[in-house]
């Protein structure tokens, strides 16, 4: 029986969170090793398991994988969340690219001063409601299906749900004005 994947990261969201989401959505149980001290990190570095000296790192299927996107691509493909052909994969990649950019604005949030956090929060909500959410709302409206791509649950849906919840944490009514996103992702999940 295959060993569970092991995730190496800080005990927090950061770049690993999307990987946790995807594994969870695929029903894959995993273990986690949390980096808590500098010594731990240096030990990991010395052991040579961090290809570019960075985390996230995921031990999966006998490989020590690094680079968030590479890990996500692999998991999505392995668990049939990457569409049924190249064109669907391209759509998923485009949509995920968008939500990745959106969530990227929030990666630095915890490291900002309180004053800058207020500005960043407004910035993220503005980008979400004017650039990103309208796109996904329109995709759902145009094809009338329950999922973004191929009438089938894919990585794109999981990533979008993660993004929606993150933005809602900054502004609880961020989805007002996006009825399809509300129904598809919030009402149906909770």
């Amino acid at each position: 029986m295959a060993a569970k994947p092991v995730l190496y990261y800080f005990n927090g969201r950061g770049k690993m969170e999307s990987i946790r989401w995807l594994l969870a959505a695929a029903g894959v149980e995993f273990e986690e090793v949390f980096l808590e001290t500098r010594e731990q990190y240096e030990k990991l570095l010395k052991s040579g398991v961090l290809m570019f000296q960075q985390v996230p790192m995921v031990e999966i299927d006998g490989m020590k994988m690094v680079q968030t996107r590479a890990i996500l691509n692999y998991i999505a493909a392995k668990y049939n969340l990457y569409g049924k052909d190249l064109k669907e994969r391209a759509l998923i990649d485009m949509y995920v690219g968008g939500t990745e950019d959106l969530m990227g604005f929030l990666l630095i949030y915890p490291f900002l001063s309180a004053e800058d956090q207020v500005k960043q929060r407004a910035f993220v909500v503005q980008k979400a409601t004017s650039r990103y959410f309208p796109v996904y709302e329109k995709v759902l409206k145009d094809h009338g299906q329950d999922f973004l791509v191929g009438n089938c649950l894919s990585w794109a849906d999981i990533h979008l749900l993660e993004a929606i919840l993150m933005v809602e944490e900054k502004k609880s009514d961020a989805l007002s004005g996006f009825p399809l996103l509300q129904v598809t992702y919030i009402n149906n999940i909770f």
């Binding site: 959505a25 490989m63 049939n80 049924k84 094809h143």
Partner: protein, 208 residues
């Protein structure tokens, strides 16, 4: 009607250059539309917002626990490409850094290239002794690495000293027919970003 891919971007490297490299390496001819003014961009945005996918035929959802055969090759390619892309990100941002930060930035690029990224690929090539990074065949990873090597060399000419495998790699890749063609004058390859490029980007995307 031409079936060629059509690239819409600014007349310069930026984020499109990697795509030009990949298409050219694959021997795919393409057309280019250059954004020259903010008005052009805004017009394009209006058009693009009307974009939607073709309605897909229903897919037969496989249960989420089904394992499809995985290609470790493509996994490796992704890891290498993403790593190189992180390095290229520094190069991408460089023209837009203020003059007083440029020297420090340049040192950072050199340090990241020689301390973090190039050693990885040097080791990969040394260990398997093959010409290509993955699976003993030409792949996106090779194209991406060559692009990065050349881009860093433009800023730090001696950056490959200390990386004999990468020097050989650079020569071999540059001589692959499609790449050789791309490296010649008159190809779609764009020159290094200059002041005019920076000014165009700032104006079109209203960056301050």
């Amino acid at each position: 009607m031409s079936g060629k891919p059509r690239l819409t971007y600014i007349n310069g490297r930026g984020r499109m250059e990697t795509i030009r490299w990949l298409l050219s390496a694959a021997g795919v001819e393409f057309e280019e539309v250059f954004l020259q003014s903010r008005e052009q961009l805004l017009k394009l945005v209006k058009v693009l917002c009307g974009y939607h996918s073709d309605s897909p035929s229903p897919c037969y959802c496989k249960p989420p626990h089904a394992n499809s055969r995985q290609s470790f090759g493509s996994l490796r390619i992704d890891m290498y490409v993403e790593g190189v892309s992180d390095l290229m990100q520094l190069i991408l941002m460089f023209p837009f850094t203020p003059p007083e930060a440029k020297e420090k930035n340049l040192a950072s690029i050199a340090e990241k290239a020689t301390g973090r990224y190039f050693p990885v690929f040097e080791k990969v090539l040394k260990q398997h002794g093959q010409d290509f990074l993955v699976g003993n065949r030409f792949s996106w990873a090779d194209v991406a690495l060559l692009e990065a090597i050349l881009a860093v060399e433009e800023k730090v000419p001696s950056v490959l000293s200390g990386f004999p495998q990468l020097q050989a790699f650079k020569t071999k890749m540059s001589n692959m027919p499609t790449i050789k063609k791309f490296l010649q004058p008159g190809s779609p390859r764009k020159p290094p970003p200059d002041e005019r490029y920076v000014a165009t980007v700032m104006e079109i995307f209203k960056l301050d």
